[in-house]
Amino acid sequence: MLNAITITQIYVPDQDEALDFYVGKLGFEVTNDMQFGPMRWLTVALPGQPDRAILLEKPGPPSMSEETAATVRELISKGAAGGHLFFQCDDAYKTHAELKAKGVEITEEPVDQPYGIDFGLRDPFGNHLRIAQMKLG
């Protein structure tokens, strides 16, 4: 049987800018950064959880044509390319304040929900992220 989720992929139009955001602002660490011909295999993970990575994939050849890549980039910029990521933190209000101070684009302020306190944000490209402080039990 399957026993773990190891890598989850999202599209980012610019991998260096993605690193500035995911590493520089959200606190991820680079777990792989390898060039395979035209493709840069770039993964990041949270400190202490290296076996659960996010692949930051740039849409483009050879996996898709330039024309298709342009369509994918347009969808990302409309917030319509999927790419939803859900994270957990210890203190939602504190994390929210820290990210806001770093200029991160908040889409929903922290809300106390039945399952925890969570808020929404976007990465620089339009991908949607949520961060939650989960309630116990």
Binding site: K78, E105, T107, Q113, D118, G120, R122, R130
Partner: protein, 137 residues
Amino acid sequence: MSRAVEESNRRLLRARDAMDRRYAEPLDVPTLARIAHVSEAHFIRTFRATFGETPNRYLQRRRVERAMFLLRTGERSVTDICMDVGFASLGTFSRVFRDIVGEPPSVYRRRGPLAPVPSCFAMAWLRPSSFGEAPGE
């Protein structure tokens, strides 16, 4: 050309996110156009071309979606909920709600309580679609 479209989309998405976040405020087109860094006429036209409906209709659907949520998760009166979600008059709220949902708020409320889910999911799931119908004024 494509980059310019992406840049425009991203700015429009920022204005759309502002509607999702600040729906309870009296948001007007000048405010939203400023967020998107475009003129008011250009904002309405490009928003509609990008997202398939006018900014006003999008904001109405966001407010109605929040009202649908509140009607089924608490005990607040219809009048209070109308004000909570950003409508200035009960008459407008009732008309827009009925127009979009197909039944009045008090009848919708009788469908009973909702299961707890992340608010972004509730937003996507409850939000009444206006695609394929006559766009709002």
